[in-house]
């Protein structure tokens, strides 16, 4: 038995106008201070006003939101009693919104949520997610990543009831995204789609959105990075991010994410940059030990018109294309280039490996690495040595 779920998705020009047609009394908007400063909440508020919906903003979500932030947000939600929770921002804000819905609707602590439990959250509130970046795909998944600040660890959580009811992809929300964030988050979208397409939990339902997302990212990410005013590229990247989310959210991500989460937890590297950095190294590792994944990489390369020929050469060509795209959108290709000192990195190696070993993504690949192989991958990624083992 496997599941497949997607939110009702509104996309394209003026998609935010959909908000003035929805039913509700009180909306609790969960975002960060920068989104407020950019005036994006005003656009949403104007639509809610037309729908006669009262609204309140919680703007204290930090990058890599902590459990404490969610508890604070849920406490305020309990006072306000919204029937709509709206997450506006990147993955951090949307994940905080999902967690707030669970804590508010089910009256439990964030870490107590489980996909096994039924909470009947819709009896309390519906969930709307409005991304302001194009990468996390959080608007299309039930997955949540919170940070346990005490143990410097990212924690993957979720419930099927945290899949948003509605995702709104309005290009106005991403037009002001700076190039660096465009590059970081775009690589996250690519990583979701490539890893989702090759995960052992993949299904026919996840393959289609995964393949399309990869092709769209290859065709549009650099355009959006070079010219943030390229509205068509922005729109396409929004769609790719959501499709990438659908792909991995209904399947699973892979080693780029488990290694990326590890460095993100310990060195606070932005999520998309971290997973994008490790993606090509982990792809090489899988090519060296899995014919099945090599074949699927080759399918991607052919579908995206990146290569022709036998499976292995196509797969390696895909790895090369990933690196070229990353370079072209300002991404570090090595941990050293990301500004992390060798000594600090090596001193953290045991923690990096221990975190990566214990990520669910590590076991959802066709070649599951043991701790010693993960350590080799981490070491290769420091200087940019190809993973040839």
């Amino acid at each position: 038995m496997q599941f497949f779920g997607v939110p009702f998705t509104v996309f394209g020009d003026d998609a935010l106008q959909y908000l003035n047609t929805i039913l509700g009394k009180r909306a609790f908007i969960i975002t960060d201070k920068n989104i407020v400063k950019l005036g994006l909440i005003e656009l949403i508020g104007a639509e809610l006003k037309q729908a006669n919906i009262d609204w309140k903003v919680f703007d204290e979500v930090e990058p890599d939101p902590s459990i404490q932030t969610v508890i604070k947000s849920a406490t305020l939600a309990k006072d306000f009693k919204p029937d709509l929770i709206i997450g506006v921002g990147g993955g951090s804000c949307m994940d905080a919104a999902k967690s707030t819905l669970v804590c508010y609707g089910a009256n439990i602590a964030p870490l107590d949520m489980s996909p096994s439990d039924f909470y009947n959250l819709r009896a309390t509130a519906r969930l709307i997610c409005i991304p302001t970046t194009s990468g996390t795909g959080s608007e299309a998944t039930w997955a949540i990543v919170l940070t346990d600040t005490e143990n410097q660890r990212k924690i993957a959580l979720g419930s099927y009831e945290t899949l948003p009811d509605i995702a709104i992809l309005d290009p106005r929300m991403v037009m002001s995204m700076p190039p660096q964030i465009t590059g970081d988050t775009g690589m996250d979208a690519l990583c979701h789609a490539i890893e989702g397409y090759t995960a052992t939990w993949r299904t026919s339902f996840t393959d289609g959105p995964g393949l399309m997302a990869i092709r769209i990212v290859f065709e549009n990410l650099k355009k959006a990075y070079d010219n943030g005013k390229d509205e068509e590229a922005r729109k396409q990247m929004m769609c790719a991010a959501s499709m990438g989310g659908t792909c991995f959210g209904n399947g699973m991500a892979g080693l780029g994410h488990s290694t990326g989460h590890a460095i993100g937890g310990l060195f606070h590297m932005p999520h998309g940059r971290a997973v994008g950095l490790y993606l090509p190294y982990t792809m090489e590792y899988l090519i060296n030990g899995s014919e099945e994944t090599t074949r699927r990489y080759a399918e991607i390369a052919r579908f995206c018109n990146l290569a022709e020929g036998d499976d292995k050469s196509c797969a390696l060509q895909l790895v090369k294309a990933v690196r070229e795209l990353a370079r072209s959108v300002g991404q570090p290709l090595t941990v050293r280039d990301a500004g992390i000192k060798r000594e600090d990195y090596m001193n953290a190696m045991a923690g990096l490996v221990e975190r990566a070993v214990n990520e669910a993504m590590t076991i959802a690949v066709t070649r599951v690495p043991e701790a010693d192989d993960l350590e080799k991958i981490f070491i290769c990624a420091y200087d940019g040595t190809p993973c040839n083992f």
Partner: protein, 137 residues
């Protein structure tokens, strides 16, 4: 051949755990006990509670408890499923984490703690495969 859901099976499972270096390494920081619950169905007329106490890479105790005696232990985690689902997990036809995520295995307890012990969960399944098991119809 031990019958799944009996003390004989649970004891062999404990031995497999305590002989596994891979589990010991993967679960060296794990502290938490379980009820692995077999839900009624077929020849299983009432739930069977398999108590398993896991501590720092070792299994300290196992027991089998009936519905009437289930308050004997207060484990941190409850993981329940039909015999058919337990068999699929034991035979590696479905990953235990995937089974939890798709509600085939129903988990009660701190999901975050379990999700930080993925490798240990995998090694625990490897221990199950060491036990020659007869499954009830």
């Amino acid at each position: 051949m031990a019958k799944f859901g009996t003390l004989e099976w649970a004891t062999q499972f404990m031995e497999a755990i305590n002989n596994s270096k891979a589990y010991e390494e993967a679960a060296k920081t794990w502290e938490g006990d379980f009820y692995f619950i077999i839900e009624p169905g077929g020849s299983i007329k009432e739930p069977v509670y398999q108590y398993v106490d896991l501590w720092h890479g070792k299994c300290r105790k196992v027991d089998i408890v009936s519905e009437a005696e289930k308050d004997r232990y207060k484990p941190e985690f409850l993981l329940s499923a039909s015999v058919a689902t337990w068999r699929k997990v034991a035979e590696k036809k479905v990953d235990p984490i995937q089974a939890i995520v798709t509600r085939q295995l129903k988990l009660q307890g701190n999901m975050g703690k379990v999700m930080r012990a993925v490798k240990a969960a995998q090694e625990l399944v490897n221990c199950v495969t060491q036990v020659k098991t007869e499954y009830p119809e």
